[in-house]
């Protein structure tokens, strides 16, 4: 390694801390043992120091007018879509809005479909329908007893009652 000197590129990378650890150690060791590369390193470092010194000398405070202009400019910025959405979804706005929507939906529905009526069965319809059903199944257990009992329609009319006293 002592035979070839370090390049300015590698020295700059070394000074910027951009070499991998093993290479950095090797470069450091070389610089310590090579006066020519140590001088080159010092020159590279002095260039960096010159730039920093120049920057320090030219350093200035942020003018108040810039801050004031920034504040004035952002105050005029229209809110973004997401900001508007977020503002609209605040609970103070969202809850009354949701209640209003629910009421509007309810009244809108009833206005379109009319008031829902209770399901009622007319008595006449019930009797007619029931009579029709029993007529189709007269022998079912639930068939009503005919309204008038005569000897003609009495069940078991041909059977004589048994006189058990005899």
């Amino acid at each position: 390694m002592n035979q070839t000197h370090l390049s300015t590129e590698e020295l700059a990378d070394y000074l910027h801390g951009e070499l991998l650890a093993p290479r950095e150690a090797a470069v450091r060791a070389h610089i310590m043992s090579c006066p020519i590369c140590e001088r080159a390193r010092a020159q590279e470092a002095s260039l960096i120091e010159a730039l920093r010194a120049h920057a320090r000398r030219a350093e200035r405070e942020l003018p108040e007018s810039v801050v004031a202009n920034i504040r004035a400019a952002v105050a005029q910025q229209p809110p973004t879509f997401w900001d508007r959405l977020r503002l609209a979804l605040r609970p103070a706005v969202l809850l009354p809005s949701a209640a209003a929507v629910a009421v509007a939906l309810y009244f809108g529905f009833t206005a379109m479909h009319g008031t829902a009526r209770a399901t009622t069965i007319e008595p006449a319809y019930y009797i007619d329908n029931h009579a029709a059903m029993t007529a189709t199944a007269p022998f079912s257990d639930e068939a009503p007893v005919p309204p008038m009992l005569t000897s003609e329609n009495a069940p078991f009319a041909d059977e004589r009652p048994v006189d058990e006293t005899r």
Binding site: S7, T8, A12, R39, L47, A58, E61, N69, I70
Partner: protein, 175 residues
């Protein structure tokens, strides 16, 4: 409002650094003021896109360099007095000859450095400022200027070679 608080905190903590970076980049106060102002308006608008845990300075430097490039493009190179790059200036495997830089580091060097920086292309200046003055890593610089680490390295070496040459030239001419 959260957005407003973010902006105020950013200005308070990084306003000065941002302004100075803009000043070094543009080399004049009026442009630095405009650039800083526009950068913080962008920060205000895009505050949600800042990822907590990342470097705010890297973020705002990226905004500033992009705005500066746009401005230069808009002005159609009015400020671009480019000096042709000397690809051989960097040299490889050979230590530098004795240079006057280290002898004049304080005092005498300020004006030549200032002139040399002003004579660089904006691309060279921004990369030199980020690496040598701001102390950004090559990776950070790559993220700020939008290129790979390898490109940062080669651009930086070219810029340093060019700066060295220009400083020497301006020092000779002033003496």
């Amino acid at each position: 409002m959260e957005q407003q608080a973010f902006l105020e905190r950013a200005i308070e903590q990084y306003g000065k650094a941002t302004y100075n970076f803009a000043y070094r980049l543009t080399q004049n106060e009026a442009d630095a003021r405009d650039l800083t102002q526009e950068a913080y308006i962008r920060v205000f608008r895009a505050w949600k896109s800042f990822k907590p845990g990342t470097s705010f300075l890297s973020w705002i430097y990226r905004i500033i360099t992009n705005l500066h490039r746009d401005e230069l493009r808009r002005r159609k190179g009015r400020y671009l007095e480019e000096i042709p790059e000397d690809d051989g200036a960097g040299g490889t495997g050979r230590p530098l000859a004795v240079e006057p830089i280290e002898e004049y580091i304080e005092g005498h060097l300020s004006e030549p450095v200032s002139k040399a920086l002003a004579s660089l292309t904006h691309e060279q200046r921004e990369i030199l400022l980020l690496a040598d003055v701001e102390g950004c890593s090559y990776q950070e610089i790559g993220q700020i200027v939008g290129c790979s680490v390898g490109t940062v390295r080669s651009r930086l070496h070219r810029a340093r070679g060019q700066l060295r040459k220009l400083v020497t030239r301006f020092m000779k001419s002033s003496s």
